[in-house]
């Protein structure tokens, strides 16, 4: 077994009176791709935000290679090699595509390799090259999503946390994105993936967690989860009736 890089224990997070996470336990090993799936409002984004330091937990611990992250400032966490590609993209709209990508490499000092990485990202998403000097805010939704992912890659992270990376992308690009995720894995980068596209996500993932209203209700290998009755029913939409239940969950 590989070393545990990320260990979350009994994590509880609340927004005022709303309890979004009610005691999450989760671990990620070196080089693994871990998928997190769950209905809307289950707390997936909250989990990622807490790991990246944007939210402070009410209880519980997060450890990165044995070091506690819980009281660390977000920028400090980034410098440790965890990068968060957030939901809603958070591109810097008034800045150019170039600036956005370079901001991704903010914590790096290896100028030459940054340039190389920039070339790689631009090769991956040719549209970003075309719009290199454009204001990022004027990109189309999908283009912004590509920019957000590309920006995350510019950090050369040890752990990459992707919050719904396929959101708003054309099918052909989604395929690419999952290729990229596979590539990351091949390069030994650990990936924590939140996806609505559960089927695809579980396919590329080594392991998966299923979240429901702030709790982990299932965790297993990706392949097992794909086969699991519960997952199929609730998240893959294979059963035709009773869709409303999942919707209001």
């Amino acid at each position: 077994m590989m070393e545990k890089v990320l260990q979350v224990k009994n994590l509880k997070v609340a927004y005022g009176p709303i309890k979004a996470l009610k005691g999450i336990d989760l671990e990620v090993r070196q080089g693994e791709t871990v998928a997190i799936i769950g209905a809307n409002g289950a707390g997936k984004s909250t989990l990622l935000k807490t790991i990246s330091g944007l939210l402070k937990p009410a209880e519980g611990t997060i450890e990165f290679r044995g070091q506690p992250l819980t009281s660390m400032a977000p920028h400090h966490i980034v410098s440790k090699g965890l990068i968060h590609v957030p939901e809603g993209r958070a591109v810097l709209g008034r800045m150019t595509v170039e600036d956005n990508l370079l901001m991704g490499a903010y914590c790096r000092k290896d100028e030459k390799e940054i340039q190389e990485d920039l070339e790689k990202v631009l090769a991956l998403f040719p549209i970003l090259k075309e719009r290199f000097k454009f204001q990022a805010g004027n990109l189309s939704g999908g283009q912004q999503q590509m920019l957000a992912i590309g920006r995350g890659m510019m950090a050369r992270p040890q752990i990459m946390m992707l919050d719904e990376p396929s959101l708003g992308l054309a099918p052909i690009v989604i395929k690419e994105i999952f290729e990229i995720i596979k590539n990351l894995r091949d390069k030994g980068i650990t990936v924590l993936l939140v996806e609505q596209n559960a089927k695809q996500a579980l396919k590329v993932a080594d392991r998966g967690y299923v979240l429901e209203t702030g709790r982990v209700v299932l965790s297993d290998s990706g392949a097992n989860l794909l086969r699991s009755e519960e997952v199929t029913r609730a998240y893959l939409g294979e059963r035709k009736d009773d869709t409303r239940r999942a919707l209001t969950a």
Partner: protein, 287 residues
């Protein structure tokens, strides 16, 4: 504490509610001193020069200031945020210079001889203003103001005419400031353009933010507290400004949303309806 303190408090409450209204559409005005000036001068000319009675003069002041407010509202549409704040501040300064050089109202020497504002009249107008503000926030136009404040593009796409709404907010707000001006001038007997500079405008903003810009109750309470406060700390003599400043800074740290926020109102409502339904709190938007 003398009657005059409560008269100024009342006038300041009216001003604060007036500013709250423009603010509720997301438009920051630092030119409200000018609307007050227009009301004050209009009313003074009506009573002193043309011999009308005060109630009529107040109405005329509201109309005149309202018209100017609408006129300002249109160009203000193009300008946003701090540009609007400083732009209106500039406009206020221009109005001030206008009155300085407007011979008919005495220029820099001012105009005098107004009287008739009483405590009852002021607080009657306060009551009317609060009633108006209450009705406003509970009507669809009040919701519409808020929607415009939140997101103009979405508001338009929901069928709201933001031009109408923003200009109306300016007009109504200016008219109310005009009323305050009329009351002020007829209490203080004498006005010159000095009384309505950017200091006055800033002070009104102070009231609103200190009291809470989310509800008109906040604005009103802010005006009341900040008018009475200097009287309460008068004993500190020349140190009271220092104290006043520090107090406000401390308040902004402890309650940046102001004395009264939505939550306060909800809390009060819950308290009186005895239902202990925990309302969701407006927390910081994560992400």
């Amino acid at each position: 504490m003398t009657e005059s303190v409560f008269i100024f408090a009342g006038i300041n409450i009216i001003l604060a509610i007036s500013l709250y209204i423009t603010l509720s559409t997301g438009q920051i005005s630092l030119g409200h001193g000018a609307f007050m000036a227009i009301g004050a001068y209009m009313a003074s000319v009506m009573t002193v020069k043309w011999g009308f009675n005060l109630p009529l003069a107040i109405v005329a002041a509201a109309i005149m200031a309202g018209i100017v407010g609408v006129a300002v509202g249109f160009p203000a549409l193009r300008v946003k945020g701090i540009y609007l704040a400083i732009g209106t501040l500039g406009l206020g300064e221009v109005v001030q210079v206008f009155f300085h050089n407007f011979k008919y109202t005495g220029g820099a020497s001012g105009i005098s001889g107004m009287s008739g504002t009483t405590l009852y009249l002021v607080w009657f107008m306060v009551a009317l203003t609060i009633l108006f503000a209450w009705q406003l926030t509970h009507s669809r136009i009040g919701w519409a103001f808020k929607a415009v404040h939140e997101d103009e593009v979405a508001a338009q796409s929901m069928g709201l005419n933001i031009t109408y709404l923003k200009v109306t907010a300016f007009g109504v707000s200016a008219a109310i400031a005009g009323i305050a001006g009329a009351l002020y001038s007829h209490y203080i007997f004498f006005i010159d353009p000095h009384a309505f500079g950017y200091h006055t405008s800033l002070l009104i903003l102070f009231y609103v933010i200190f009291g809470g810009a989310q509800t008109f109750w906040g604005a009103a309470l802010g005006a009341l507290v900040l008018t009475l406060l200097p009287e309460l700390i008068r004993g500190m003599q020349e140190w009271r400004l220092t104290f006043y400043g520090i107090l406000i800074m401390a308040m902004m740290v402890l309650r940046p949303q102001g004395l009264i926020s939505h939550d306060t109102i909800n809390w009060i409502k819950d308290f009186f309806s005895k239902k202990s339904l925990p309302k969701t709190k407006a927390t910081e938007e994560a992400g």
